[in-house]
Symmetry: D2
Subunit: 278 residues, 4 copies
């Protein structure tokens, strides 16, 4: 049984195969020790790291990478804090250099974030598309943080993105998947004739059920950070997110019962009163 | 870590302490072998069994109880199929006799269901209250299946119910918790000055996220049957429900981040445009 | 056209036929002048009045009834503030006396509220049922404020209630209809073989769309008070509620288009990716 | 009173001031007579017309424009059926010629739709942006049909759009506003320092409450077509939509009461049980 579940849990993104469908960020923790323990509890073997210097080195001069077991985790460098395609491309290359230097397998990929402004941290679809084209040409496997707009998602795939990662809701908002219909159409567009193309919900997760709901829609994985890092008890929440990912994946594969008004109704609407006044 | 999680997972209802917060029914499975495997996968150590003869013995003359490891599971006899207080009291007593006969610890409790009609299977609050009073007087620990009406829930507790089990949605409807606000008020009423009083969402669960959402509201456990038994793959769904219960409990205990319009907003409504046309 | 709309707008409850499907309360206004103007704007011709003395007479000794054009409005006396069947019956009789005294046609009916506690103001279903039986025996046309529990709603009708008025959400909570499924089942139970039986959503309305949504479910009318009285601009909100009632009724009668994932999908789920990973 | 409501109802978009906040399409009606009557009932004075020849001329050779009182309505030509910026620009110019020819004031504006594919009819944000720039340079007042992505919406405004019209949900899907949060952020972006900038929800409306909810969010108007044209009774639904627009606008201006768990709670969460098991 354990083996079977592991198989169901594994997630292939480009040349990388991960044993968990949950990818976890490393920002916003009270300290690096807590971060390390939370990462472990989450069950992930892939963590994303902001490459910009001001995010890698904390106030005390500690380098984040010294607190991460880089033998254990595949690192996914990200371009958090970039607000233009140029800047994101530059930071992605810097990330590659750093990961080559520490011989981490994550040197060949990047989580691309190109944001619109510091207030909402919403992605800029046009700059993201531009940066994707450049990074693909430069040999990167590009995982694109995106809005949930299916048309933009399809464009990013056409531009060569290895994975598209639509936001459930704004970064750090804790609102979960606000528009399941857009995620459904993203899946339809991105997996048409290509069922293994990885689609990952990135951003907006507030609690465990947000992860479960996302996975039940049929996405291949979830990426989150604040939901764990800023919970009152990040370690327990990391445990919760691990279970929530498994729960959602298994439920998606299980084929749920239909929703009905009540069990003997043959559809959600059956039995709804339709008589109209004379 | 494992021990800690186990402690968080245990659920005390009256004199019974269960190692899982998930209670699973035994009806509607394609066959008893599948049922047995699904029960195991769900991680539960408490299963509820309909006592009425037509539900205990299948078409081939097999007795459900012969397919259950009664050393492993605490049985929770239920009065499914009863539509009056009298009938429910009679069936509860019959269940007690049967469980005394097989020396199962579940002989001293009962899940009381008194239903209103065969179409919706909604509970009858008045007959439930009447049956509760009789069964409490008769020495039973009574776990009452109820609507989510907080006033009825409080009455049932006042009548001596060991646990109140509000429905998330109609039995077999697969709609999850339709009215989280009523569940919140039930918790407020039932746990006021009595934080360990067990409140269990019973009925309506369709998929894993329904369980996680219920647990995140702060209920102590979830009871379900159709969601697993009628899934296309009941075994995978049983796994899913086990994880979903853990996920929801841990998330509840973790203290989730607040919901906001976006991360730099200080409240869900901050930044919402309030200017009005002149 | 105007005539046609009026016909659609009329609502018959027992022996009373009202020209509007909106019934409005008289409590909580900043002053009686504002109340009078808001009532007019709402388009109602039926207003409900709390009979208890402390609610009829304000701090300055003014009697509410002196500020209402009792020639224009049918008054619906209510038992707000009653927490037992006995008290509610007493207050209902008092209301009848007062309305007989002023020769208002509302003398023969009552809106029955029997509440459980002062904190939530949720209705007490058992005391409501008891009071209904007594008031029906006493010749009243009883309009019962109730939870949205369909089984209780059916019991109240069986006890002789002229109308059942399920709450959308708790009094003054402004949450609208929290559980449309329960309202749907209430309609199914109450209108089975009796399509003209009046079902009115009472309580919980916060804004115009709450009214429209309730009416689109097929209820016959909406009763509200706080949503107008405590809005920043009660007069504009009264206008809004009038339009919202018309909008919801007309939309219900119009036969709306189905919901789909997108227009060329033949069902809400069509096109949803169902491929599962190997 | 009537005057005041009219003032609140008027909507200024560029150089056009409309007396209704509802704009209605002309497609998909069973016949042109029904269309004409529905337009009248809707209360609108602005209707949008697809310019492409195959949409202007029906199978019998009738020209849509002959069935519209072009003295009464301001026409808003639209580029429905265009899947590239070039095509949309060409069609917009054709529309201008036609409207100049019939001396309709709508000759100087256009509703720009550039769609991604025939299956979902979702807008193509990049082609829409490109076409906007060209049409603005060509002197058009451009009303841009868009996704609800706030970043794209802001770009369109920066490109000179006279109004941005985010979709509530896909064209013809009848799902209403799927992501109110995105609409809120659109309003925040587009009205910052410019409170009169017109934001109009276009597409996805299924029934009256969808309109009311959109207007309550603070948008300036709603544009719809299928919701009326494909209702079982388009005339009644046109009436419903007229009331729904008024209801939503008035409710937005009124300042609604807050949502609470129950009335005596000071916040939606107050009273929510927070005790945690020991």
């Amino acid at each position: 049984m354990a083996t079977e579940i592991l198989a169901e849990s594994s997630l292939t993104i480009g040349t990388h195969t991960l044993s968990s469908r949950l990818i976890v960020g490393t920002g916003k923790y009270a300290n690096y020790e807590l971060m390390g323990e939370a990462l472990q509890r989450s069950g992930t073997d892939c963590i994303t790291v902001a490459v910009r210097r001001e995010r890698l080195i904390d106030a005390a001069g500690n380098n984040l990478l010294e607190f991460i077991d880089t033998q254990r985790y595949t690192l996914l460098p990200n371009t958090a804090g970039c607000f233009s395609a140029e800047d994101a491309v530059r930071v992605a290359r810097l990330g590659r250099e750093i990961l080559v230097g520490i011989e981490n397998p994550g040197a060949d990929w990047v989580k691309l974030e190109v944001l619109s402004d510091t207030k909402t941290l919403l992605p800029d679809p046009i700059a993201t598309l531009e940066a994707t084209e450049k990074l693909v040409a430069d040999g990167f496997q590009v995982l694109c943080y995106s809005t949930d707009d299916p048309v933009v998602a399809r464009r990013l795939k056409e531009a060569g993105a290895t994975s598209v990662m639509p936001a459930g809701s704004p970064i750090g908002s804790g609102q979960g998947v606000l528009n399941p219909n857009n995620i459904r159409i993203c899946l339809e567009y991105l997996k048409e004739g290509d069922p293994d193309y990885p689609v990952i919900v990135d951003a907006g997760v507030g609690t465990a059920s947000d992860v479960t709901i996302a996975m039940e829609l049929g996405v291949d994985g979830v990426l989150l950070n604040t939901g764990i890092a800023h919970a009152k008890d990040p370690l327990k929440m990391a445990d919760a997110m691990r279970h929530a990912t498994e729960a959602g994946r298994l439920a998606y594969l299980s084929g749920r019962i239909p929703r009905k008004l009540y069990a003997t109704a043959s559809s959600p609407d059956e039995g709804v009163i339709t008589s109209k006044p004379r």
